[in-house]
Symmetry: D2
Subunit: 267 residues, 4 copies
């Protein structure tokens, strides 16, 4: 269906603060960007570039004082995520070159830690390698990790989430990624919008590469829904922060909304 | 100023025809894309990718029958192009790596042809190397080449334009590029929108790299104006066609419009 | 088999001349670089970069006076080129993104010229789309175009070769590429070494993309042989010159050699 | 001076094991690769690709049994590393786009950890931002962290090294990088060869980006020496492992050697 999503972020900068934003979604396999609006106030020079993952990033210097970013995107999205029970594992030697980096340990997904590998082995014991393993990991996280705000922070890694058994969508995602990678299944983080997420917020989930393509997995949901707008992809949250700031700036308010597109007024 | 630009292209395909479109502008040095809308009818799957020049390209298969693409973009643009009289030539050894390819001869800009080099030498005789040379080339083309529709076609190269002394914006651009390159000044083609172009159409101009950056040159105008929205960059028209089609499809109608943005309704 | 190839280029520069060399082969699908040696005399600073086709390029400024480049490469190569009679055409919509650019017209391969398309259609009349078409083009060139040194120059395009029916390996290659592209078969130029080429020289051939991969075609030979070392890939000779110079420099002497590797002394 | 360096790695694989090697150095700012040899035994197909940092990587599947890789490189290197006392900090907004990723936290360099930032602030207190800060960090690590084999492992992060005050070149490097990044100085890991390293081994150090370019820092040495051959660059050890293996394979023996090049026999 066609959905409309957006956010408004209100900041106060104490001084001139360079920032990098990732708030411009791109058309991709499961989404077509019908329209996109991106407003900043005050208007300052912005440079947009593509990072090594293909994300559109916006660089600017926020002047001291209040600063607002508001975006609105209308996209055709798939009503259901693709599910592929039984889809086979893609051997490492057959992976496309640009997928290989998603096998490596990263800041919040220390897939090299023995405890991660041990847990992954336990979860997938006896399963067919590939999609079924990634789905078992997703389901295990959904059932074993408690979803609760305020229990983790910007330093929390998948290893800590595994130990503490509590976190939010970001932590669920990191744990899913780390467990997949320990099985040599490439996995990456996606941040974006999800229709009917409750409570509404910017969301995160993961994708695993099996049978020659990426599949969507969302450990925060009993049955993952479609109608997602992906905004950025990366190894983990270090790569795909909506805002990366290099100086003192506070986020005073954030609003996020997703709704069916009004068919009469396209944007 | 903030301008609003767009186009509507109506095609009829005789069969399923794969095409590549370049109609999604990106934010860049002299433009900030405030909003962008991209509609196709009928809706079919589209894959968007970034080409080697950084352009956003849309791949799809047009089904047999009528097909319409309509886009609308609102952008903050500079009222004036940057002018830098006296800005020095950038020696080849100091050029950024990704600029080097714009020194090479290309399909419509055969800068390796002796007649091109000879003409360039005559135009810039005695001038300070750099901006002044590119500007002299631009001015010479404006004064010496007659602008007239229907005098060139999709095969016309800069060499033919130099011989025939007649053409349209595409030909003026190719000639400017070829002459600059023959002087070892990197030059590239830009296609996009220009406010107050008369008659209104999709437009083309060129950029030359001097003093460490790209500058805008438009040989179709006595005094080149600002308020441009660049849509794609490349070596020449082969790289930056709005539509590249691989099968029988006719363009039945095209409308292009550029106007000051309505400040009340942002998209 | 393991072959050893190299060249020695002797130049005289009249002044400081910036140049770009492409003389460092990379390991690829059909070749493994066992060893590589690259000497310049006098020794000056060199920057090596990767161009948009993945070629390793060397930038430097040749000082006024004599300058020598000598390279030697030992590589494992395939004794036979891959032949795939009947391999099907890859539809444009299924081509990998990075192959699309090889469908476009380029400086020396003006595949948009009606005369090129007309000739291609005549050659492939009745053939199965794909490999057989590319092979028919290769064979037609071999039989219809006379191989003769001194009949073409650095400005000669495939259209002229088609008209004049004479040229060298570079011209044969450009014509093969242009004819393939006019049929929407991606084609690219390869420059490198060929064992037992007679007379020995730096060589050029083309590759066409059918059935999901690149295949080798060499119109200069009745039956194309294997044991090739590819040094660079590109749209045409503008992209893959062994030496691109930006100033007055003469090539005084060039020697090229290819032989079976001496198994005792690996480099 | 011209140095000759290489390594021989002897493995035993228990089954077919896909691996990625990074053992082919590239010519760069401070090194020119005169010759390079890369032997594997048994000979199996290898694919070489360039990763997102520009490193040449070799993919292959090691068959069960013994496997040997031996490389040898001769390079012109600088006798001294560049030192730039007083070179100023490059503000984030002025950094090249491709440098921005080296500001982010990574697996072994968790620069987002408050303990890292606190330590960095203490080390650079009162210093001029830029080169002097990175050098103070390097010197502090050299003086405060004990160099001792066997005290860390493949999971050890910079935070642990900061706490335990002990480690090897890899840990020194990770700590230097993490401390620099916490000050918004881009920093990256380099692995390669260092002439006269004692005991000889594959080595690791870091580079920090100040005053518009990368500078070399080596915390393992009282006075860092030149004559280095860089083999790979990345965010941390996850990106630049000489061998990344995806299955059971043991390293039975490793030899590394660096010596002045024999001027008579170039390879």
């Amino acid at each position: 269906m066609k959905i409309q999503a957006g956010c408004e972020l209100r900041f106060t900068a104490e001084a001139d603060v360079p920032i990098i934003l990732m708030l411009r979604p791109r058309s991709g396999d499961a989404q077509w960007i019908v329209s996109d609006q991106y407003l900043i106030d005050p208007v300052v020079p912005v440079t947009e570039f593509t990072d090594s993952y293909g994300n559109l990033c916006q660089r600017l210097v926020v002047p001291a004082g209040p600063f607002t970013v508001s975006t609105s995107t209308q996209a055709e999205t798939a009503d259901e995520i693709d599910v592929a029970v039984g889809a086979p594992y893609t051997p490492v030697q057959d992976l496309p070159t640009d997928v290989l980096g998603f096998l490596l340990a990263s800041r919040y997904c220390p897939s090299d830690q023995p405890a991660i590998a041990k847990q992954a082995a336990a979860i997938v014991d006896g399963l067919l390698p590939g999609y079924n393993q990634a789905e078992a990991i997703r389901k295990w996280i959904h059932e074993q990790i408690t979803y609760q705000y305020g229990t983790s922070n910007a330093q929390t890694s998948a290893l800590e989430t595994l130990e503490n058994r509590i976190g939010v969508c970001r932590d669920f995602t990191h744990l899913g990624i780390a467990l997949c990678r320990s099985l040599n299944i490439p996995a990456r983080m996606v941040v974006g919008y999800l229709h009917e997420l409750d409570p509404m917020d910017l969301h995160a989930w993961f994708e695993a590469f099996v049978n020659g393509r990426w599949y969507t997995f969302d450990a925060t949901q009993a049955v993952p829904k479609g109608n997602r707008i992906s905004v950025a992809y990366g190894r983990d949250a270090a790569d795909v922060a909506f805002v990366t700031q290099f100086g003192p700036m506070t986020l005073d308010n954030m609003e996020v909304w997703v709704k069916p597109a009004d068919t009469d007024t396209p944007t």
